[in-house]
Amino acid sequence: MNLTELHRKLIAAARATPPNDQVPYAFEKRIMACLEGVKPLDPMGLWSRALGFSAIFCVAVMVVMAVGVRWLPTPVPDSLSQDVEQTLFAAVDNNVDQ
């Protein structure tokens, strides 16, 4: 069988009969009933809502960090500099003592 010819004839058959465009009775009423309570999405509204959520999240992170800084125990601020100083001047201090 010539497959190319079969393909051509089948496609021609499909082209010869466009699909029916009949709409069932009162179909628009059915759609309108489905749409009750549904609202069109507003892209700007979605965008502003997303911005609002991100601002709230940023404020929440800031509050958590502020509480952490205020209440959590922090290391003595000068301990590192004092340690360095003691190590550097250890030899001099020993000589002075002697």
Binding site: M1, N2, L3, E5, L6, H7, K9, L10, I11, A12, A13, A14, R15, A16, T17, P18, P19, N20, D21, Q22, V23, P24, F27, E28, K29, R30, I31, M32, C34, L35, V38, P40, L41, D42, P43
Partner: protein
């Protein structure tokens, strides 16, 4: 110069977006025949066709705010319809396992006439329409979509890219694969008939 959208559609869309959903019924009444014709290309059962069309209208209502008006509303709606049909095909692709052993007598006769003398077999026979429907049902969703748009509806590659949201090279690749898939199905049909 033709205006980008019909004034009637623009007014209706503005009214719907301002909170008057009743105006949407005008659009449903005006464009449903085209949406039904598109859905009937991909679904055979009438209940499935109605479900597809209902989904198209629900999506179009929800996304109406994204319609910018730089192209006719009908084009925007048809893009939505084609993509919804593609989603339908993908969701139902497991149901396409049928064989060519169950051909009806008119389908058998038509195939024999094509095999004997292709010029004598009529193009508009019901048997040929049923056969092409069977073959399309065997194809993958992308292949069926491309064969329908490119070969049956005779649309250009660029039009298909706009309708489906695929890139032009992707449409070309899928068209090549779809033709190969179709050829394989035709060979299967011929083999089934003459073995």
């Amino acid at each position: 110069m033709e205006p980008p959208i019909e004034p009637g559609d623009a007014e209706v869309i503005t009214a719907v977006l301002k909170g008057n959903p009743a105006g949407f019924e005008i659009l449903v009444r005006k464009y449903s025949p085209r949406v039904f014709a598109t859905a009937r290309r991909y679904a055979r059962r009438e209940s499935e066709v109605e479900d597809i069309v209902q989904e198209v209208w629900l999506k179009s209502f929800q996304k109406l705010g994204t319609f910018r008006g730089d192209a006719p509303f009908e084009h925007w709606l048809m893009r939505l319809a084609v993509r919804t049909c593609y989603d339908f095909l993908r969701a139902h692709q497991r149901n396409r396992e049928t064989t060519f052993t169950e051909l009806s007598d008119p389908e058998d006769d038509w195939l024999e006439r094509v095999a004997a003398n292709p010029a004598e077999a009529p193009d508009n026979a019901d048997a040929a329409r049923q056969l092409i429907e069977r073959i399309l049902e065997q194809l993958s969703p992308a292949a069926r979509m491309v064969i329908t748009l490119l070969e049956i509806e005779e649309r250009s590659v660029r039009e298909i890219a706009e309708l489906t949201g695929w890139s032009v090279p992707l449409v070309k690749v899928r068209a090549f694969r779809a033709r190969a898939e179709m050829k394989k199905q035709l060979a299967k049909l011929a083999k089934n008939k003459y073995l």
